[in-house]
Assembly symmetry: C2
Homo-oligomer: 219 residues x 2
C-alpha cells in the first residue's frame, strides 16, 4: 500500500491529463476502488457503482465520444479567454492545452472509471427549488474524490470529467448500463507522462470562507 | 497540524452526530477550510463558498429549521425499517437514533459549515437529460469531502447533511446569502461526545465495481 499524509495528498492532487498507456496492477486498482467505497452517502445507501473500463475497444468508443463533445466545448472555452488579464489567461491556456490533449487521447488511458448512480438511492432535497439541483451529487462525488485522492497516493494521474454525460445514451450503450442508472463522472487513470501531481493553484481561505453570515471574511 | 495517513483517514471517517459544544480553535478551523479549497472543480472555478457559523443565535435558528425538516423525514424513514431483516434493521435503527439526536441538537454544535454554490460556475452537462441532474455537485462535494477528511485528521466529529436545502429560503435569510447563490450542504462540526471516528460499514468492492461493462464484477 502506498502511504501519504492526508493533507499532503489533498494539496498536491492535480488534474493530470497526460497519461501513459502502461497498465495499472490489479491490486493498485483494488485499493483505489476500495477507497471510493469508504465515502459517506445519504443513509449510507452507496447509490453508485463504478465500471472500470480496460477493454481497448470500449475505451476507444468512449474516447471517440469524448472527443466529439470535448473539442467544441474547449473551443468555446478558448474564445472566452481572450478577454482575461495576461497572468490568468496564460494559466487557463495551459489548462486548455492539457484539456485538448485529453480530448484526443482519453481512450488511450489504461483505465477509465465510469461512475454511475441510481436516482432512487438519492434524497434530492433541493429538487423542488427554482434553481439547478446539485444535492444528488452529495452521495456520489465524495466517492469520486476518495478515488482521486487514492490515485494521488498511488502515483497515478487522474482527472474528474463530466463531459460524457452530454452523450449519456451512447455511453449507456457502450457499457450496457441499464435504466434507470445514470452516469456522473468518467475518471481516466494512468501513470503520468510528465511530473504528475504537485503544487496546485487555488483561491485562499480568505476568499472562500465567511464567518456567521455572507460576506464577512474568515480571518 | 494533525497528521494521519490518507487511507487510514478515509476508512475511519464516520458520520459523527453527537458533538460536544466545546469551541474549535481558529487554527484548526483554518486547516479544515484550506483542505476544502484544495479540491478540484470544473475549470478550477471553485464555484462554492462556505459560511462558518459560530454565532449562537444564528446556529439556534438553523437548528430550529433543521428540526422542523429532519424530524418528519426521520419518522418516515423509521416506518420503512420495520420490513428489513433484523441485522440490517438494528444497524439502521442505530443510525436513526443518532439522526434524531442531531435533529434536536444541530444548533448546539460549536460550528456549522454551510456550503453555498453559484449556479453560473457549474457546467451542468446532464441538465438536458430526462433524469435528476447531479453533475453540478461535482464541483462542490469534492470540497465537502476534503473538509470531512480534514475533520477526521483533527479529531473533529462531523457529518454531511443536506436536509436544510428543503428550507433554503429561510436559511438564505438567516445567513444573508444573496441570489443566485444556493446551498448544497450543512456540516455540523465539533469534538465527539463518544468514541467519534472509527471502523465503518460499507459494501465491498465486489458489489460496487464492475469491469468493462455493467454487471461483470471486479474480482
Amino acid at each position: 500500500m502506498a502511504t501519504i499524509e492526508l493533507y499532503e495528498a489533498m494539496r498536491t492532487l492535480r488534474a493530470v491529463r497526460r497519461l501513459r498507456p502502461d497498465p495499472i496492477p490489479d491490486d493498485v486498482l483494488r485499493r483505489i476502488l476500495e477507497a471510493a467505497t469508504w465515502a459517506p452517502s445519504g443513509g449510507n445507501r452507496q447509490p453508485w457503482r463504478v465500471i472500470v473500463v480496460k477493454d481497448p475497444v470500449r475505451k476507444q468508443r468512449l474516447g471517440e465520444l469524448y472527443r466529439k463533445v470535448a473539442v467544441p466545448f474547449l473551443h468555446s472555452y478558448a474564445e472566452q479567454l481572450v478577454a482575461l488579464p495576461e497572468g490568468e489567461r496564460i494559466k487557463r491556456e495551459k489548462m486548455l492545452r492539457s484539456g485538448l490533449y485529453l480530448a484526443e487521447h482519453l481512450g488511450e488511458a489504461p483505465v477509465l472509471c465510469v461512475f454511475c448512480f441510481h436516482p432512487d438511492g438519492l434524497a434530492v432535497t433541493d429538487a423542488k427549488l427554482d434553481r439547478v439541483s446539485v444535492v444528488g451529487g452529495g452521495s456520489i462525488y465524495p466517492a469520486v474524490q476518495n478515488l482521486l485522492l487514492a490515485c494521488r497516493a498511488e502515483g497515478l494521474g487522474c482527472v474528474l470529467t463530466t463531459l460524457l454525460c452530454m452523450v449519456e445514451p451512447e455511453v449507456r450503450e457502450v457499457l450496457a448500463i441499464p435504466q434507470p442508472w445514470g452516469t456522473a463522472a468518467v475518471v481516466p487513470i494512468g501513470y503520468p507522462q510528465l511530473r504528475g501531481h504537485g503544487p496546485i493553484s487555488r483561491r485562499p481561505v480568505e476568499e472562500m470562507a465567511f464567518v456567521d453570515s455572507w460576506g464577512q471574511p474568515f480571518a
